[in-house]
Structures are given as structure tokens and as C-alpha cells.
Amino acid sequence: MEQDDLRGGLLQGTLDLLVLRVLIPGALHGYAISRRLAELSEGWLSVDEGSLYPCLYRMEKKGWIRSEPGRSENNRKARFYCLTDQGTAQLEIEQEGWRRFQRAVGRILKRA
């Protein structure tokens, strides 16, 4: 029951990091990003379109990702997102921030 309660929860501010990480192998459309996040988290994280597309739009505005129109696997018009150099640098910063956060929480959990 406890596991089910945790399912789907996403710590605020981590979506940017996860999306940037998922885009490293290459360009993906929004649906594929959402599926990839679900697959990599073994179904633990589900990001719906209401959160994903505002996040993608904001990151594009910041210059971390770039979007290009293209065709999906079933030949439908779609927008593909890929990382920019600025986005790669930002991913490093975000990853470092996450590791520090993880270490800090870990220390508290060990000592408390």
C-alpha cells in the first residue's frame, strides 16, 4: 500500500532534470519522452501532458532544448525536442545539484 502511495509522485523541480537526461540519446517527441520516463522508472513515474508540455516550452524558452517539426513513427506530424549545448551544460548543473541533495538527505536518514 505504501508503494502505491508513492507511485507517480515527482519531486518539484526534478522534471527538468529528468527530461534533459532522457533527451541525451537523441531527439524525441513529447509522447515518447513521457513513455521513456515511465519505462526508465519501471512505471513509477507518470508525467501527463499538463505538466510535460509547459515544462518543454519553458526549457525551450531558456534555450536548453530545441524543437523541430517532423514525422512520428506512424507518419503523423509531431514536434521533436533535442538538447542544445546550453541544455547539456544545464544538465550537468542539475545532476550535480541532485547528487548534493541526495547526499544531504542520505546523511540525515543515516544519522537521525
Binding site: G8, G9, Q12, H29, G30, Y31, S34, D48, E49, G50, S51, Y53, P54, Y57, R58, S72, N74, R76, K77, A78, R79
Partner: protein, 356 residues
């Protein structure tokens, strides 16, 4: 000008893009569900239930400034609109303008007031019996004949077949005429008022609509109960909305009655058309009033800013979409869900020390 056009284009592109992305998302999810063996309609339904709803798209648009309020903010009009004086000022202008546009301004004002304001003939008086519900029900033959013998009124005659009309003698007040008539007839329900000639304007439908709206509005504002200031502001703006709407209705009906309609059906159609338009506008006004009011800070009455949405409309029970907007003056945060809205006041650092 170019900047404004660019901003408008960007706003339209954002809306189109989010709509396209949402549709694509649903289509792909539906394709996946079809691959699992669901029928086409079931797959689409399941995809919508799992990923997207109109409400989700609306919240995303709101967060990115792609909604209609975002358009207002884009042109910096939000600074004017955010002021608590904006709506009252616009409504006051409409209230002043409508009678000015009318062919008979006084008739429009009298129709809304529900009573005549100026007498047509200074000395003419109207005599009738007033019922418990304040309507005039007429005067019987015996009372009429008794009044005829009084010397404080002259030229007594029947008016609209059931009431009486007369002229007051010079120097005799209406109160004195009324008391003399009551003494003479023994009927304490007889009233004497100045006679007004009025242009009849049907106000019933508009007043009924605004009666219902007032009831709904009372319910809406009574639930959050943010502050007396906020309630007072809502009440004043609501009254201005209803007054503007009633004046607009009276004006429209006045124009309708002056048109020479070729047939009765055409006149009825015209009346129904005006009624439908006025009802639609009244509903729209209520919506504007409530949307504006619910996003105002209860302390400074300024608009709350920077809406941020968390959760999803697809998880109404476990993780419902919650939007937080903040007061620019630091008075607190408004937390809105689909079902409720609650204002959390900002506590000062000393609050914890005082209240523990």
C-alpha cells in the same frame, strides 16, 4: 506596434502548439491502447482518461500565459485590469452612457427604479386603494362619489377605468388631501400620489434573471468568506453589473417598442431575441464578476499573480490539479482546486512567536 503584433503572434502560436501537442499525445496513447486490443472509440476514451482532458490543457495554457488572461497580460493591460477600480469604472461609464444613448432617458431610469421620478403635471394627483403587496387595486364607486364632494380636489375623474385622477387646489398638500379623503371615506388604504405619465417598459424578465443571478452569487461568495472587504467589493461590483444590465435591457426594450413591426410574430421574435441576448450577457457578466473576484486578494483587492499548477486533472482523487497564485504585496497565496478556492494569508515571522 510591431512588438504588439509579434506578441500576439507568439500567443497564438503557443495556443496552437499546445493544442497540437495535446492531440498528438492523445492519438499516440490511443494507438497504444488499440495495440493492446481495445476498440478505436474505447482506446480514444482510455487515452483521454489516462492522459489528457480539456481542463489539463486549460491549466497548462494558464500557466504559460496562453489563456485569455495571458493575452491581457501580454499587452500590459493587466496593470489596469488588476486594479480594483477597473471594473467599477467601466460599469459606471456604461451606466452613464446607456441613458444618454436612449431616446427617452428618464423612462429608462424610471423603468429600472420601478417608480416614476418626475410628475408629468405638477398639480395632477392619482387616487387609488393600495393592497398589502403595494400595488394599486382601484377605487370603488361609493368612495369615488365621496371624494367628489371634497373641496380640496377639482376635476375628479376615472383614470384607467379603476383608479381616480384629480387636480389639487392651490396651497393644499398631498398629505392633507390624503387625510381628508381617508376621513371622508373611512378607507385607510386609499393613497394620494402625484400622477406620472410613464412609458411602459417590461422589466420582469430582466429582474427575474438578476434575481436568480443574485441568489447564485450570494451562494458563491458565502462559501469562501475571505474578508468583509472582499465581500463588500464583490457586492458593490455585483450591484453595478446588475444595474448596467437592467439599464441595457430597458434601453433595448424601449428601442423594440418604438420599431413598427410588420406582424405580431415579428415583434415576438424580436422580443425573444432581445431576451436571449440579455440572458447570455447576464450570464457572461456573472462569469466575469466571479472570475475577477475569486482571484483578488482579500486584503488589498489587487489581482493575484503567477499561477502555478501542480497535480493532474486525471487524478481527481489522489493528486488533483491545484493552482497557487500569489499576492504581489505579500498578503498570501490563493490555493484553487476544481472544487474549492482557499486563501492562505501570509503569516509574519512574529506570528509563530505569538501564537505558538
Amino acid at each position: 506596434m510591431n512588438r504588439a503584433i509579434d506578441a500576439l503572434r507568439e500567443w497564438r502560436e503557443l495556443r496552437a502548439r499546445l493544442r497540437d501537442e495535446s492531440e498528438f499525445h492523445i492519438d499516440r496513447a490511443a494507438a497504444d491502447f488499440r495495440a493492446l486490443g481495445l476498440s478505436s472509440s474505447m482506446a480514444k476514451q482510455a487515452a483521454r482518461a489516462r492522459f489528457g482532458s480539456r481542463q489539463n490543457l486549460k491549466l497548462a495554457l494558464r500557466e504559460l500565459g496562453g489563456d485569455w488572461e495571458g493575452l491581457v497580460r501580454l499587452f500590459s493591460a493587466h496593470r489596469v485590469q488588476a486594479s480594483p477600480w477597473f471594473q467599477p469604472a467601466v460599469l459606471a461609464m456604461a451606466i452613464l452612457l446607456i441613458p444618454l444613448l436612449s431616446p427617452a432617458p428618464l423612462a429608462v431610469i424610471e423603468a429600472v427604479a420601478g417608480r416614476p421620478l418626475v410628475a408629468a403635471d405638477r398639480d395632477a394627483v392619482f387616487i387609488s386603494k393600495q393592497a398589502w403587496n403595494l400595488t394599486y387595486v382601484g377605487i370603488n364607486r361609493a368612495d369615488f362619489e365621496s371624494i367628489r364632494s371634497l373641496d380640496s380636489v377639482i376635476k375628479l375623474e376615472r383614470y384607467q377605468s379603476i383608479h381616480a385622477r384629480a387636480y389639487a387646489r392651490k396651497g393644499v398638500s398631498l398629505t392633507s388631501i390624503e387625510s381628508r379623503i381617508r376621513n371622508k371615506t373611512g378607507n385607510q388604504r386609499l393613497r394620494v400620489v402625484p400622477l406620472f405619465e410613464r412609458e411602459p417598459i417590461v422589466m420582469g424578465p430582466a429582474k427575474a434573471v438578476w434575481g436568480v443571478m443574485a441568489f447564485v452569487s450570494l451562494f458563491l461568495v458565502a462559501v469562501p468568506r475571505r474578508s468583509y472587504r472582499w465581500l463588500g467589493y464583490g457586492f458593490v461590483v455585483g450591484c453595478l453589473h446588475s444595474l448596467a444590465s437592467l439599464l441595457a435591457w430597458a434601453f433595448a426594450i424601449q428601442l423594440w417598442s418604438r420599431i413598427s413591426w410588420p406582424t405580431d410574430s415579428a415583434a415576438l421574435f424580436g422580443f425573444l431575441f432581445i431576451s436571449a441576448v440579455c440572458l447570455g450577457v447576464a450570464v457572461l457578466q456573472c462569469q466575469v464578476w466571479w472570475r475577477d473576484l475569486r482571484r483578488r486578494c482579500p486584503l488589498c483587492l489587487d489581482c493575484l499573480l503567477l499561477p502555478l499548477t501542480e497535480g493532474s486533472e486525471n487524478c481527481l482523487l489522489l493528486d488533483p490539479a491545484t493552482t497557487e497564485s500569489i499576492c504581489a504585496h505579500g498578503h498570501g497565496v490563493l490555493v484553487e482546486t476544481r472544487w474549492s478556492s482557499r486563501f492562505r494569508p501570509q503569516r509574519s515571522p512574529l506570528h509563530g512567536l505569538v501564537h505558538g
